[in-house]
Symmetry: C2
DNA sequence: GTGAAAGCGCTAACAC
DNA sequence: GTGTTAGCGCTTTCAC
């Protein structure tokens, strides 16, 4: 049968209490017994029993705090859905979830919110935030005081987060290019690229992947323009319409941002319905409608529900087993969808 | 806080033992107290605590038996992987998994194996089996003696299974057609369809969906032939080569079966490398290699790992809560993959 | 620094 | 038919 604390206790000659303390590296255990017991646990293949642990320590909830810039961002709905599912699934195993939503990517507001979550007693954090030096520093501080930080959807380079859960943006761009290549290989491509913000890591990676893949495949293509829609519908519509006026030969549009797609749709409708081959990113309601109406040919999605669910699940597991250090990133798939996926 | 058995006990005036028995509809409780308590539980929103239950009843394992026709079927590797993951995840919550593998779809062998699993004491069953009257009857018998049966990957019509976990085959075919439409809308399509067995439900549904979608989109297409590869590489290669000899104008091949793809690849290589637009189904090693070598343009996959994982998870949950009757089917996605997904 | 014991929610065995 | 109780694996007081 499976080996329990009691077994370890018998085998080592100390009490279960001490074994438990040793394994959860409480400081109140002598260094050598602790080491001895940990070794023994290793040898006998001890695996903590979640049920026992949850039952026992349920006064001491495993609280994970979440920061999402989700206000007025429909994309985050599915992520929130996934979070809710995980919360439901693990609440009788001692999980508690605290969600803080903000609007946009202001560094100060993010820092404040993170501190709020910390002060609220969260044992771990899942953050969707900005790649900024002050944020990086903040995450490293949290690591120092043993609060594991998981980054979700948007990575922060070179910091001590416990892992990243999100998409491979560059590959998303490559796949868009491959799709284009398969679909229109017999005509020269005149491509308009629309991004949210050129400075946005993810959008930038998508564009890079997109262009490099077209080159790798030796496509006959030209990117006639790259315009910024500022992640909102109005600007996106304006810049797209202008670009289409200036470049009458565009036959293909790649939208590298999930926000502003509705504006893009409006611009296309205003210009011409059948002229463009259109690839967009991220499945939100309005995007789905544009696919259904054949305005957009393909959407490349990134499993947002899974991102929310896995972020919570991973942190819960992380705190449930006595371990530490980094764990593997969870990279979601680039899911190609077309009209028939939505009917 | 969450409401426990003790709360129900206090609120109803009977002991926790009786409450527990009432909720798990043991027969040794008077019908009226049982009803009263169940009502109360409903009102107070009682949700059983998995940790408590698992801990208590761990002498009484929740055994799920699985039948897979997986011998010599590489497709099932990922399903088995998913099963293993779920087993690992839920074993400390009282789950035990017994896997029986057979080769092929012989009804008698399947029936025997199912009986073995039953006699072995399985509390629930997950079956990948045939849509056959005797199987149907067998499942209905199991339902009568309160062994919930979940069907995985391949459905059986009109029987009392608790749910189905698998793909929407028809939609898979529609998506293949849509992909084709997007990619080659400017030339008349001369299509060769290769199936495993025309009698196979899933393959048949794929072909029907494929053709109906091409019609719906008013494609300029002709299905020049539908051939049977018998789900093996050698036959598939032979019939494909013959079909290509007989129909020199074929410019597109739809492979509606996941087995025999390697034979299809061989036939294509023998004929001509760049002439065909090829769509296949199901991601197994050899198929992946053919995509990487640009022999196959797209594969439409069906999340086998998720099927295995969810089948076990659903049955485990089903037995963990005191409920019964059907639950929702779990339909996996039709995931379009191309070369760049595998690099 | 360590042992002993209570108690988390639940089920099953044993009384009555 | 129902009440009582032991015990599942674990953490955490409280003694010492």
């Amino acid at each position: 049968m499976t080996v329990t604390l009691k077994d370890l206790s018998k085998a080592s000659g100390v009490s279960v209490g001490t074994v438990s303390r040793a394994l959860n590296d409480k400081s109140e255990v002598s260094a050598e017994t602790a080491k001895r017991i940990r070794q023994l646990a290793q040898e006998l293949g001890y695996v903590p029993n979640r049920a026992g642990r949850a039952l026992s320590a349920q006064k001491n909830l495993n609280t994970v705090g979440i920061l999402l810039p989700s206000i007025n961002g429909p994309f985050f709905e599915d992520i929130k859905q996934g979070i809710k599912e995980a919360e439901n699934e693990f609440k009788d195993l001692g999980l508690e979830v605290i969600l803080r939503e903000v609007e946009g990517w202001d560094v100060d507001e993010h820092l404040n919110t993170i501190n709020e979550l910390k002060d609220h007693g969260c044992k771990s954090l899942a953050l969707c935030t900005v790649d900024d030096p002050r944020i990086r520093e903040c995450i490293n501080e949290l690591d120092k005081i043993n609060i594991p930080v998981l980054l979700i959807n948007n990575n922060v380079q070179n910091c001590k987060n416990v892992c990243f859960v999100g998409p491979d943006y560059r590959r998303s761009g490559e796949i868009a290019a491959a799709l284009l290549y398969k679909s229109r290989s017999y005509m020269p491509l005149k491509i308009l690229i629309v991004v949210g913000l050129k400075s946005h890591h993810g959008h930038d990676a998508r564009v890079k992947g997109f262009i490099s893949e077209l080159e790798r495949r030796k496509c006959d293509f030209e990117v006639v323009d790259i315009v910024e829609g500022m992640d909102n519908d109005i600007t996106t519509q304006q810049v797209t319409m202008e670009a289409l006026r200036n470049h009458k030969d565009v036959n293909c549009i790649y939208m590298a941002s999930g926000s502003g797609v509705s504006g893009l749709g409006a611009a296309i409708i205003a210009d011409s319905l059948d002229k463009f081959f259109v690839i967009a990113c991220d499945e939100i309601y309005t995007t789905r409608e544009l696919v259904k109406s054949d305005i957009i040919d393909f959407v490349i999605c990134q499993e947002p529900r899974t991102q929310g669910y896995q972020a919570i699940k991973l942190l819960h597991e992380y705190l449930s087993k006595p371990r530490n250090g980094r764990i593997d990133d969870y990279i979601v798939g680039n899911i190609i969808k077309l009209k028939n996926h939505f009917d």
